[in-house]
Symmetry: C2
């Protein structure tokens, strides 16, 4: 009899629920529902409904599951289940763990979505078998999960791993950019997909000479990291310089984290890095140039393997 656990991935517009085989990491049933109401109680009810549907699909009793967890984009305060801040959902200081536990009728842990994904990659993805790991995701935002002695580092408050909010020196003597978190100078303000697209739009509006404009069909709203990557692949100078600049920023921060933590394995993932090989290559060059020689011995880099499922698998299998 398979031991099944429940993983929930809570985005800004959808909730996904999956039953995960705790021994293989395989998803045996999954259900995705739109979020029509972002009020915490409504979201808890929608997540619990999706979970019950997935359980019914798998033919199991939701009460007999081997644990449950939810990952969401926000600051989650460790085992308290409190979400201090989740901009996508418009939440501040929401006791979502308690709401979800009540709606599910089973204890549910709440963690940052990238911590959940890091844990998924550790248990059944590209970091399997390693005990000292750094997992960095660059998607719409930038985040990480730190694994020390085989366990996720939570920090004193539960917010360890916010690598996107490390401060960086603006490239080429330029001005610092404002981040979605409200601070100025965060890595994510440059390298996160949302901010990156906004910056390219600014450059285009200021008259930058690049194929990105045509690749986006002349529509600024369609500018994306993917359009920059297409331009890069065609030898566009603007795209080449941009990837070099963003790769430098990312690689310096990530390489420094490797020197500090001395992991055996670095996993790189997220839609922007995985969708933009030119940016990934520039980032890896910068990481190699940054990591100290002593931390570089025996150190390897790999791409994330579980894609969008990493967070579901990780949330389901969190330590309790």
């Amino acid at each position: 009899m398979a031991r099944l656990a429940l993983g929930i991935d809570l985005g800004g517009t959808n909730v996904r629920a999956a039953l995960v085989d705790a021994d293989s990491g395989r998803i045996v049933a999954a259900r995705k529902s739109p979020l029509s109401d972002r009020a915490p109680q409504a979201v808890a009810d929608a997540a619990a409904a999706a979970a019950r549907e997935a359980a019914a699909q798998a033919g199991v009793d939701p009460a007999g599951l081997h644990g449950a967890g939810v990952g969401l984009a926000g600051q989650c305060l460790g085992s308290t289940g409190v979400v201090a801040n989740a901009p996508n959902l418009g939440w501040r200081d929401v006791p979502f763990g308690a709401l979800l536990t009540r709606a599910l009728g089973a204890e549910a842990r709440v963690v940052n979505d990238l911590s959940a994904a890091a844990w998924g990659e550790l248990r059944f993805g590209a970091a399997r078998g390693f005990s000292e790991v750094l997992v960095v995701f660059v998607g719409s935002g930038v985040g990480s999960g730190l694994v020390v002695r085989g366990r996720l580092v939570e920090g004193a408050r539960g917010v360890a791993g916010e690598i996107g909010h490390l401060k960086v020196t603006p490239p080429r003597g330029g001005a610092a950019r404002k981040c979605g978190c409200g601070q100025v100078g965060c890595l994510e303000a440059w390298a996160g997909g949302i901010n990156l697209s906004a910056r390219v739009r600014e450059d285009l509006a200021a008259g930058a000479d690049t194929a990105v404009r045509d690749l986006a069909g002349g529509d600024l709203a369609r500018v994306s990291p993917g359009a920059v990557e297409q331009a890069f692949a065609r030898g566009d100078a603007y795209a080449r310089d941009l990837w070099e600049e963003i790769g430098q920023l990312l690689g310096t921060v990530v390489g420094n984290a490797v020197t500090l933590l001395n992991p055996a394995r670095l996993i790189l993932g997220g839609g922007v890095l995985m969708g933009c090989p030119g940016l990934l290559a520039a980032t890896r060059r910068s990481i190699d140039a940054t990591v100290s020689p002593s931390a570089a011995v025996g150190f390897t880099v790999a791409k994330a393997e579980l894609g969008d499922d990493a967070g579901l698998v990780g949330a389901a299998l969190l330590e309790r």
Copy 2:
């Protein structure tokens, strides 16, 4: 009956051995000997002799001790006891743990001196009672110890915590400086006491207008961080700018490490930071400006309390 453990602090010119009460952290007997020969076997013999003398002074049998450890400035490869690199001693890939264990007739652990000091501060100093801690020392070099869930982070190879070798952007658009480790652009190349003094000498030789020259008696060899601090205290503009610049570099790196690791407590220590209140103040301002708001909640900073004894206490009481 007190449980006593043996701590050894191995410098470039001296070895200190101390018997430490494992329950109070108190040093009950200590012995310091000059190192006339830096060959590994000779150092192991000198350390063991100092340990036996300290044990005799305390009236205890060296064989009945509650553990033994040594801290030294260098890269120590975790539980293997191998010292990969110790520039002060001229060692590379020396199995010092095995040599010392044989010379002592008791199992001895070998760790980086700043990891030992961090552990001492955690057990009986300014970090006592905390389980998530970052300890940063700025002395002749720059190093740190990371404590997660009450345990020292060793990393995959045993070299975690080398915060002095994180790469920084040179201030004011200047050129990167070469570090003692052979790399270019390390924090220690700017903020470590040895490199800091060398840089001030260069500035003086280039005609910098500052009271530091007179405070060092006109003798470049006597230029030190302490002389810069004296000038700073007198309102010297060069010293003020230098402390602001170095404080910025230190504070950015340390503040970023706090964002990443989310410790409850940061301990600042080391001869340069403790001896230069002006630099310490600039560093603290920069840390406050760097730490993300979510990691700043409940976070406190304190000065190291055990001074030169931290490494002895920590080495004696390392986990086994």
